[in-house]
Symmetry: C2
Subunit: 242 residues, 2 copies
């Protein structure tokens, strides 16, 4: 569970037993091909998922084929923490690339959390961060221009990768097609292509088949009005109901 480890260590002291407890959890490693369903719309998931490799998307299809991606899930992300409540999911989760993920029964997961307050704290932060990301997504698609959306998303994804890998880099590993970007940003594929070209021509980013290199983070952040604080985690202790 390397990706998750790195993530969780942001929130708990590394000397606790909590992380070992995580490793003991019974889980099976599963694989999904690009496009495959991980959680179907209307299904009730009794599992917590942890992405180990690859990208997944949480999305919803409208009747006429329009699609909106709610958020991206990267290695180290875990999801459906909340809906261990037998609630039916109102959206689907699909693999965006080839994905390997761990599936943990929510009962076991709850047990681990209950026995390890440090774990509870950590996952509490994970849930809060996910909420922040959703809110930021609303602002992005609601009030930002195409250029701003693209830039803002790149900066968010880059920061999230840094958090998980621990490797402060200007390269964003972006294993998805422009049509996924379009569905995430509420734009057409064509316009994503054009907007990306603009960012390229202006010298903000450099594109390659594997991802995007951020050439001028300063100006890109200013353009996108990006403030990474919503992603940062402080190692603060909280009291969770026990």
């Amino acid at each position: 569970m390397n990706a998750l480890y790195h993530r969780i260590r942001q929130y708990v002291d590394s000397d606790t037993l909590a992380i070992d407890k995580l490793a003991e959890l019974d889980h099976r490693l599963e694989n999904r091909m690009p496009g495959e369903t991980i959680v179907a719309e209307g299904e009730r998931a009794d599992f917590v998922f942890v992405i180990e490799r690859g990208w997944a998307v949480r999305n919803r299809l409208l009747d006429d084929g329009r699609r909106q991606i709610l958020n991206f899930m990267l290695p180290g992300d875990c999801f459906d923490l909340m809906s261990l409540t037998q609630a039916k999911s109102d959206h689907a989760v699909n693999a965006a690339t080839h994905v390997s993920l761990r599936r943990i029964s929510s009962k076991d997961f709850m047990g681990a959390i209950a026995s390890q307050p440090a774990l509870a704290t950590a996952f509490w932060w994970v849930a809060i961060q996910e909420d922040s990301i959703l809110r930021e997504q609303i602002i992005r698609v609601g009030r930002r221009s195409a250029t701003e959306r693209l830039a803002h998303l790149f900066l968010e994804l880059n920061r999230r990768q840094i958090i998980v890998t621990g490797d402060e880099t200007d390269f964003l590993d972006l294993p998805i097609s422009q049509s996924l970007l379009a569905d995430a940003l509420g734009l057409s594929v064509v316009h994503v292509s054009r907007t990306l070209a603009k960012l390229r021509n202006k010298g903000f980013v450099k594109t390659s088949p594997f991802g995007i290199e951020i050439l001028d983070r300063e100006r890109l952040s200013a353009l996108a009005d990006f403030d990474s604080r919503y992603l940062r985690a402080t190692k603060l202790r909280i009291s969770v109901p026990e």
Copy 2:
């Protein structure tokens, strides 16, 4: 705490002690004038809030004055359940109309939840529903047309009022200006006015200074692709970490 009572009863059996416990909570009733701040951006709130009367909005201002409303908070809604974590808020909460609200110290609130599993369940559902509303907002502003956005929002707000008042009605009490609607839907005021006129002319709704009457719910729901399931609560029991 009438509004909250009605809300909470959706999720717990009415014969439990839980609701009494709520009433015992020390809270002060406060008032805010339209536009006043309830929680400032960057502030860390140590309180849980319950709206008693009036509407509040969770919103974020961009540098150049653009504004995005993340969601509306109606009587019976409670918020900042999650961020009792000393996390700094990345957005502000403001009164949209005259608002009276209860402010409960998060410590007391946690205590009540810990002692009453039924309450924990109920607020768990509240948090889940808030998440659903945020996700629905992303889809609304990301992939729907102006007409669809407006119709969809009206139907959501109407349903939410019904949940709190228990009164199945076609009238939506809408105490806010079109400019707030615009900032919520990611549109300009002018276009909201025009779009609303279209809905009016087509006989879907009737407008009045106090709110909106839904004349043809069938066709309006179809137009907006509205499915109220994301708002419904089943009275299912869950196990919360204890």
